[in-house]
Each structure stands twice: as structure tokens, then as C-alpha cells.
Amino acid sequence: MVKHFINLEWKSFFRSAAFQTNLVLKIFMALGALYFIGIFTLAGVGAYFGLEKAGLEPLETVNRFMIYYVVLDLVIKYMLQKMPVVNIKPLLLLPFKKAKIVDFALGKTMLSFFNIVHAFFFIPFSVVLIGQGYDPVHVITWHLGMLAMIYINNFINVFLNDAMPLVIGLASVIIGLGALQYYGIFDVTPYTGAYFQGLFEQLWLFTIPVLLAIGLYKVAHAYFLKRLYLDAGLAAKAKEATTENLDWLDRFGKTALFLKNDIKLIKRNKRSKTTVIMSVVFLFYGLLFFTGGIESYDNPFMKIFAGIFVTGGFLFSFGQFVPSWDSSYYPLMMTQNISYEEYLKSKWMLVVIASGISTILGLAYLYFGWEAYAAVFVGGIYNMGVNGHVVLWGGAYIKTPIDLTSNKKAFGDSSSFNVKTLLITMPKLLLPIILYAIGHYTLGPVFGYSLVALAGVAGFAFRDFMFKKIIGIYKAEKYKTIAAYKQKN
């Protein structure tokens, strides 16, 4: 019976749409995976020697901060890892014992990338520990304890599926604790660190998390076994619809029709809501540059780069996927009497308004001096004036259908990556940096900033030209786009 399950999994993996792409993409995906594995391995080995060099006792320090690692892991799992409910339905009618189906589903979550990736940190770290003369038995029990912690997270996540408030609560508690620690008000790590350190020092202590993980597995198993019905655990949750009055948008004329729709699209779908959250996260990206925290980022050119990103979060995460947001009903749009221009203008306005709001929120960067905000400000103008069109232009070539109701693939979509979109990305990021460099080396930074801002203002003049070009692409690629959107994953 297990053979059947493995066979199914094998096929679903290798026949998935992501794998049916071309060889170049496969290589990129493999490189991406290797990159993450490499990062974690380096972190595992590097953590020991790095901490030792800094004059800290490595294991103790790792244990102190382990609480953040564990909670972050849970939050990431909640955001990205889903209980594989969909694959269960067809199995219900086949002669499998229900308990086996649940074992299969839970077993599948255990083998997920989000669990395995930790091995690439903990195994090298443990090996280094043993190599440096730590007692092997203690290291192994510590290692087992950490493994159990990861799996405890895994099973908690199975229950959490739709407990957004709980996760936000947990995340804010951790952020709060982190802040308290940073400002030296209250430090939670000695207490939690003692536990993780205990896993190393007390040989028997690791049995507690291990037993807890096993217990949670049993509970999760019972929970799902009882709810293995279409109208219980396997039911898709239907939210009660809210209607809203967006008539105030009517002042935008014909565009308002699409604008209203786009706002509903963003508000009512999981995937697009994630996009909005992402763009808020982008706002903080500039901190890496302006605080001087990272040495190689601490130069004027990278600051322009930061300005583009700080104000362009929504632009990049939403604009890039126009018209894919409408992929699930693209045939409708293509058979209705729709003016492409109104349609595009609505998306463009959303992008511009979002960039504008980000530019205003970016005022906080004044804290780091006027030059920091100048970079954000001209970045914002450039985004509104130039990138607003360019991003829509690039999107016209992306033919990946978007499943609005699922968060899967919200972070990086391999098939949306192709040479054309890559080429179109260049002017979005490189051009403003080049413009700034020209100004910086001739008349100084202020001239550099002005050049970027001027390019942004000039960009508005090209709107109609760009729209015409994009509409041309839409028309030329119409049949291909419809066919591509039909292919659901």
C-alpha cells in the first residue's frame, strides 16, 4: 500500500507543471535549491567558528537565540506550508484504510522542504561540535531534541491551518520580546536558553520534546481521522461575502469600473493580500542600507537601489503579474466589450497610488538624514513615472496563471521567469543607478538625485506611448495567453 502512495507522490512531483518547464529553468531551480542548502550549511559551520572568533561560547550562544529560530520557523511554516488536503480527496473512495491515508498525509508534511532544510544547519553544526571536542553523546541528544522541536512546529502547523490571529499574535510577541531585548529592557533568552542548553547538558531532557512531538503526531492523527469527511476537515472554507460601496471611485470615469474590480480583487483574495503585506515589508528594506549595517550596501548607488525598492514593493509584487491577476476569467474579459486602455489604466493607477503612499510613508527615513529620504523620494518619483509602465510592459509577457485563492508560489514563481522579463527588469533598477552615477560624478549627489527625479517626471509623458505598446503585445499574444491560462497546476 505504501508503494502506491510513493508511486503517486513520485508522479505528482515529476509531472507537476513546474517540472514540465524547460531545461534552463530546471537548472535555475536546482541552483536555487543548492543555494539555500549552501547557505544553511555555511551557517551551520560558520556559526561555530564565527561565534568563537567573537569570543562567545558557540553552543551556548546558539541556544540562547534558539527561541527566535524556532518561532520564526513556525511562522514561516504557517505562511508557506499547507496541509496537503487536495491530494487526499481522490484517495477516500479507494480501498485504503483511513488511518493509512492520514499517516500518508502527515508523513508527507514531515518530509517537506521546510523540515529538511534545517538538517543542513543542524547536521554540520553538530559535526563541528563533535570535531571540536564536545561530548558526542550529549551533542547527539541535543541534536535529537532540536529535531523534535522542528517536528513539534510541523504538527502545530497542521492544526493552525487557519488561525491567522494566533500566528500574528505569536509573531508580535516575539518581535516585542526581540525589541525589549535589543533595547535592554527585558531579556527572555536566558530563560529559554537554559532549556535549549539543558538539552545538551542533561542527557534525559531530550526525551521531553521527542515525546511531545510523538504525542502531537498522535493527536494530529486522531484529529484528522475524525475529520476525514468532505464537509469537515476536507471542506474548503467559504467566507461570508462582504459587499462594499466603492461609488466614490466613479469620479475616475470609465476607469472606475475596473478600479472597483481591482480593489475587490486585492481585498478578497489570499494571494493578492499577501502581495500587499509584501509591499509593506519592502518599506523596511531600506533599513539594511541606511543604517550602514551591511558594509557593501553602504554607498550612494546602493541607496538609489534602496529607494527604488522601498517605494516599489507593490509595483514589483503586483504590477509584474498584470494581466495574470485576471487569469481565472481571462476568456470573459476577451469576449466582453472591454477597452484595453481603461483596463490598463486602472492597474497603472493602483501601482502609482501605492508607490505614492510608500513614498509618503518613507518619510520615516528622514531619521537617517535628508540624503536617505532624497534617495527614497526620487526612487518613488522614478517608480511612478517610469517603472509604473515598464512593469506592466514586462507583465504582458508573463503568462503564468495565478490561483487567487492560494498562497502557493506567492514568493517567487519559477515559470514567470524568462529572458524577456529579465531584460525588462534592467531599466527598472539599473537605469536610475546609472543616472545617479552620472550626476554624482559630474556635479555631485544633488544633481544625481535631480537626474533620477527628472527621468521619473519625463516618464509620465510616455504613458500613452507605453500603453499603446503594451496593448499591441496583449493583442499579439492573445491566443497564447488564453491557452496558457487554461493550464491549471
Binding site: K239, Y329, L332
Partner: protein, 237 residues
């Protein structure tokens, strides 16, 4: 109203549709039948310019569908769920389509009022997004949406599938009335021979992409079609 000339569609060397000449006059109720893979949906998709014909053209009204977009203003269609916007409520969807077709909320409300029976109190005022409706109710929404804005051509792919018996009967009434009273050209495909013979004046049978029969509906049509499809079935065995 609709004129098909030398139309064919080939995928990787396999011809899935080949129609030399077909003319559908204004106000006709036109039925399309055929087994799975006969090319019904392909034909409708080509009519709506959703796929590109390999040869030939389709003319809807004055212009060819792949050259001008003029047909869009007088043609309404419901092929499948990709014609619905899942995150809207039924009302919002109707108003959206209405606005695209130059109808204000009052116009749409007036039209919807006539379909109270058809909706059976399961569509309007139910705080539900379209994506959460049952397949049958989605279909009802899609079908009624095609009637917004007085279209001259209505194209419905398998409108009877997934509907309950009461709704099927009501839908037949709606289609008959459309063609007879308002002069709308209605194109319907179906697997249910009884329903098509009842609502369509003319029935075209597709087999492997070609027109194999073109019948003016009469008393004998149902028998004729049944005989045709059972023979074909025997022939396969």
C-alpha cells in the same frame, strides 16, 4: 448573422475542426450536438475569437471576428466557469457585466427581476462569492449574465448540464422566448438530444470536427438523432 467559411483548426497535425460553409441567419435558434471531442467547444471558442483558426474565418455581423472587435458589443456568451469572476457576489458580477454593456444598475435590476423564478431564491441577496456557489448555481448566474444588455447573439455551451430538472425546463422556456419573440440568434450545444430538439429550430451534428448532418427540426428529428447516435455507437463496437 453568422457566417463560417472554410474554417479548420489543426493541433499538431490532427484536424479537430473542419467546416466548409455554415450560415446562421439572424433570429435562428441553432443547436449543436455531437459526442465528446466532436469539436463543439472548439467551434464556439473560434466563434468568440478565443482560439485562432488554422484556415478560414468566421464572420459575426459585419466583420470577421479575428479582425475587428465590433462583434463583442452585440454578442454574449457563457462557455464555462472562466466566464465568471470568482471573488464577486452575483449582484456585483451582474452590475459589472451591465456596465461593460452600457446598462446602469436600474436596467440590470429590472432584467434580474424577471428571473426570480429561475434563480429559485438561491442567487440574489445571498452573501456568497461566486466561487463558493454550487456548479448549478454558477451556471444560472453565467446564463442570466449573457442576457444583460440586449445582445443579438447568445452563445451557450452545454447550458443544461448541472442544472436541476425545474431549472432545465425554465431554461428551455427562456431560450425559446429569446429566439421567437426578440429575434436573438441563440447558439446552444448540448449532449441532451431531447432538450435541443425542443428548443432549436435547426440542429447541426458534428463528428470529428465535420458537419455530418444539418436538420430543420421537426417531429421526426429526435428519432432521427437517436438513430444516428446509436448507430454510431454500434459502429464503434
Amino acid at each position: 448573422m453568422i457566417h463560417i467559411h472554410d474554417l479548420s483548426k489543426t493541433y499538431n497535425g490532427v484536424t479537430v475542426l473542419k467546416i466548409d460553409e455554415l450560415h446562421i441567419p439572424k433570429g435562428e435558434s441553432f443547436g449543436l450536438v455531437g459526442n465528446n471531442g466532436a469539436g463543439k467547444t472548439t467551434l464556439f471558442s473560434a466563434l468568440l475569437d478565443l482560439i485562432q483558426p488554422t484556415t478560414g474565418y468566421i464572420q459575426n455581423g459585419e466583420a470577421k471576428v479575428n479582425e475587428s472587435e465590433a462583434w463583442k458589443s452585440h454578442t454574449a456568451s457563457f462557455i464555462d466557469e472562466s466566464f465568471l469572476i470568482g471573488y464577486l457576489t452575483a449582484e456585483e458580477y451582474f452590475y459589472f457585466i451591465g456596465e461593460l454593456r452600457g446598462q446602469n444598475k436600474a436596467d440590470v435590476d429590472k432584467l434580474l427581476a424577471g428571473f426570480e423564478d429561475f434563480f429559485n431564491d438561491e442567487i440574489l441577496g445571498k452573501r456568497k462569492y461566486l466561487r463558493d456557489l454550487s456548479k448549478g448555481n454558477m451556471k444560472k448566474v453565467g446564463i442570466v449574465a449573457t442576457l444583460i444588455g440586449n445582445p443579438e447573439v447568445v452563445i451557450l455551451d452545454e447550458p443544461f448540464a448541472n442544472l436541476d430538472p425545474t431549472t432545465q425546463i425554465r431554461l428551455k422556456g427562456i431560450i425559446k422566448k429569446l429566439a421567437a419573440e426578440t429575434g436573438v440568434t441563440v447558439l446552444v450545444s448540448s449532449h441532451d438530444l431531447m432538450h435541443v430538439t425542443e428548443v432549436c429550430e435547426r440542429i447541426v451534428v458534428l463528428e470529428k470536427g465535420s458537419v455530418v448532418n444539418d436538420i430543420k427540426t421537426s417531429e421526426a428529428t429526435l428519432k432521427e438523432l437517436e438513430a444516428y447516435f446509436s448507430k454510431e455507437h454500434l459502429g464503434v463496437e
